[in-house]
């Protein structure tokens, strides 16, 4: 390896056999290049999908109700199930260890909202302070509904960025302004935005207590929404939240006398369940890219082996001449391997550098749904280069060994 004479001999050979060297190098470099790009895009897709999920707090649990579809305990099907404050309070105390954020939702109906002379055609929801986190909303101005608003049944309202844009033109500041909800004045205390997009901004929030009392909700609740305490791992989180959803559903079915197998009366939606499917999908995508990548590497290895076979075959006579001049078999094998390793290493690293540079430069510019910042783990890429070098060496070794041990006279006869 540190034999300078050998290096010179190899550089001579490489310099004088440019095409052969180039072709070997090209197949190695392109193998690495394709692998890195593939792995990069696999990662990019995973990043992209992960980002889509960041839109909502990812372990959100959401309860809604419909009519019963089954007869149960002497009750006819077709009964509308209505959640109550007691249900919400009971769940809070029973699962207090599991729950992180929580909020009931009461949808206020048949109320006209006016700002000055204009009518605002968006819905109003009564919620608690936790709702902001559950829905992954941010505040652009002011504050969200808080605990004391609820306790004091305050007449305050949080509007969305979209509503602000549509109704407070010319940069008018909505903060402290009043909206008229069927004749009752509500003070605007905040402006929220939703990472989930505009569609999530078609609404306004008031305290749940105010919604129920002022707008005849009594103790009715339309939805329950929760996030759970973070778990140690994703798997753990899935297990815990599935169990929670199940227990929650059973409890609600029991208190509302719903048949346990009634699929639609009480619904618990668990984002993690969905997320799990998607994460599974990204896993599969990643696996697929790895699979294709490894096939590429295998193709590269086969290509390198092939070239090595041909190179050695082509050089059989030269090997015979060298041996007639006194070259030992070991020095023949050494020469061929040294050249093979050198060429694979140089071209492998060039492929690596080139593809990583491309990912680095072009990656962040890619704006396609579900692909975000494709990148590749440098160590992984480096390892594949070494695998290829090793494969090249191995692929070169056997034909070189055989050629070096052919009887000199037979090698010389080779045409």
């Amino acid at each position: 390896m540190f034999d300078i004479e050998r290096w010179q001999e190899i550089f001579d050979t490489i310099r004088k056999n440019k095409l052969r060297t180039f072709l070997t190098g090209l197949s190695v470099a392109s193998g690495i290049f394709i692998l890195v790009i593939l792995l990069g895009f696999g990662q990019g897709m995973q990043n992209g999908i992960a980002k889509e999920f960041a839109a909502d707090a990812s372990n959100r649990i959401w309860v809604w109700t419909q009519v019963t579809t089954k007869e149960y305990k002497g009750l006819n099907p077709g009964r509308r199930i209505e959640l109550k404050n007691e249900n919400y309070d009971y769940v809070n105390s029973r699962f207090s260890d599991n729950l992180d954020k929580k909020s009931p939702v009461y949808r206020v109906r048949d109320v006209s909202v006016n700002y000055g002379k204009e009518t605002i055609g968006y819905s109003i929801q009564g919620v608690s302070s936790g709702f902001q986190f559950i829905e992954n909303q941010f505040l652009s101005q002011g504050r969200f509904i808080n605990q004391s608003d609820e306790e004091s049944v305050a007449k305050v309202i949080v509007i969305s960025n979209k509503i602000k844009r549509e109704y407070f033109k010319n940069g008018e500041d909505p903060m402290g302004e009043y909206l008229d909800l069927s004749g009752i004045k509500f003070k605007i205390i905040g402006v929220f935005g939703d990472v989930g997009g505009e569609r999530e901004e078609d609404r306004m929030f008031i305290p749940i207590t105010t919604a129920q009392r002022v707008f005849n909700g009594a103790n009715q609740v339309n939805n329950l929404s929760y996030t759970l305490q973070p778990a140690e791992s994703f798997e753990q989180a899935v297990v815990e939240s599935m169990q929670f959803s199940q227990e929650l559903k059973s409890y609600l079915q029991e208190v509302h006398s719903v048949a346990p197998d009634d699929g639609s009366a009480i619904n618990v939606y668990n984002t993690l369940e969905n997320a799990k499917r998607f994460y599974g999908l990204t896993g599969n995508i990643k696996f697929f890219f790895w699979f294709v990548g490894i096939c590429t590497i295998i193709a590269g290895v086969v290509g390198v082996s092939n070239i090595m076979l041909i190179v050695v075959k082509e050089r059989t006579r030269e090997i015979g001449i060298r041996k007639a001049l006194g070259a030992k078999p070991i020095s023949i094998v050494g020469m061929i391997l040294h050249e093979a390793i050198f060429v694979t290493a140089i071209s492998g690293f060039s492929g690596l550098v080139f593809s990583m540079a491309l990912l680095e430069l072009v990656g962040p510019l890619i704006e396609v749904d579900y692909i975000l910042n494709p990148s590749v783990n440098f160590n992984v890429a480096l390892s594949t280069v070494f695998v290829l070098i090793l494969a090249g060496a191995l692929a070169g070794f056997f034909p070189a060994w055989r050629a070096a041990h052919i009887h000199t006279i037979d090698a010389l006869r080779d045409q």
Binding site: E9, R322, K323, K328, H407
Partner: protein, 234 residues
């Protein structure tokens, strides 16, 4: 210098085998210039290849410069070849991507001579065969005679004890053949031992001794009065 006793060699081809050398006894002193003659297929090349350790005999003894040559493996043979022997082939066997000088320097590489030294020596030997100006040319840019002279320079560069040449003039026209023979005679005059395989009588007459092979045995072995290649009218 060379001593062989009762040398046998046969080639196996499928189920039958071809007995080529059937007990050769033969010795060569230092400084001799020997021509090996015989009809095609008589085993001349086979004998020369065994002497050159490019091939192995089935039985018999072979001593080269006092060293018994036996139990050859490739590594050992390579060592002996490098130390003792120089080859000249009918088809030149130059490495086509190396220049004349690099070809001549190659045996020195395997003697682990340093690069500078190699190049100096190679140039010196190229000068001796009259091709110093062609040092940087590739074999493809040389004529047949020039190629063979490069090959001879290469064989001489390692300073072997014995030079073995298998039909060195076989691929050359008669004028070029004379040039090559003149060179070989000159090298022999310097005291080198040389064996030449040929089936041209006039080439053989330029040696000092002629050995005739027929059907795998030596049928005639005589000293001759050497004809100088330079004595031919050009």
């Amino acid at each position: 210098m060379i001593e062989i006793k009762n040398l046998h060699k046969s080639y196996k081809m499928g189920s039958n085998s071809l007995h080529v050398l059937k007990g050769i006894n033969f010795s060569v002193e230092e400084g001799e210039l020997v021509a090996i003659m015989g009809s095609s297929g008589s085993g001349k090349s086979t004998l020369l290849n065994i002497l050159g350790m490019l091939d192995e005999a089935d039985s018999g003894e072979y001593t080269l410069d006092g060293v018994p040559i036996k139990n050859l493996n490739e590594t050992k043979a390579a060592n002996y070849r490098n130390k003792f022997l120089g080859f000249v082939f009918q088809s030149f066997n130059l490495i086509n991507y190396k220049t004349a000088m690099e070809n001549v320097a190659l045996p020195l590489y395997y003697q682990r001579v340093a690069r500078k030294e190699r190049e100096k020596k190679a140039l010196m030997y190229l000068e001796r065969v009259g091709l110093k100006e062609w040092a940087t040319h590739l074999p493809s840019e040389l004529s047949g005679g020039q190629k063979q002279r490069v090959a001879i320079a290469r064989a001489m560069a390692a300073e072997p004890k014995v030079l073995l040449a298998d039909e060195p003039t076989g691929a050359l026209d008669s004028k070029t053949s004379l040039e090559v023979m003149e060179l070989i005679q000159k090298i022999n005059d310097d005291g080198n031992t040389i064996l030449i395989v040929t089936h041209e009588a006039d080439i053989a007459q330029m040696c000092k001794r002629i050995v005739h092979l027929k059907d795998g045995v030596i049928v005639e072995d005589k000293k001759v009065k050497q004809v100088r290649a330079s004595s031919y009218v050009q």
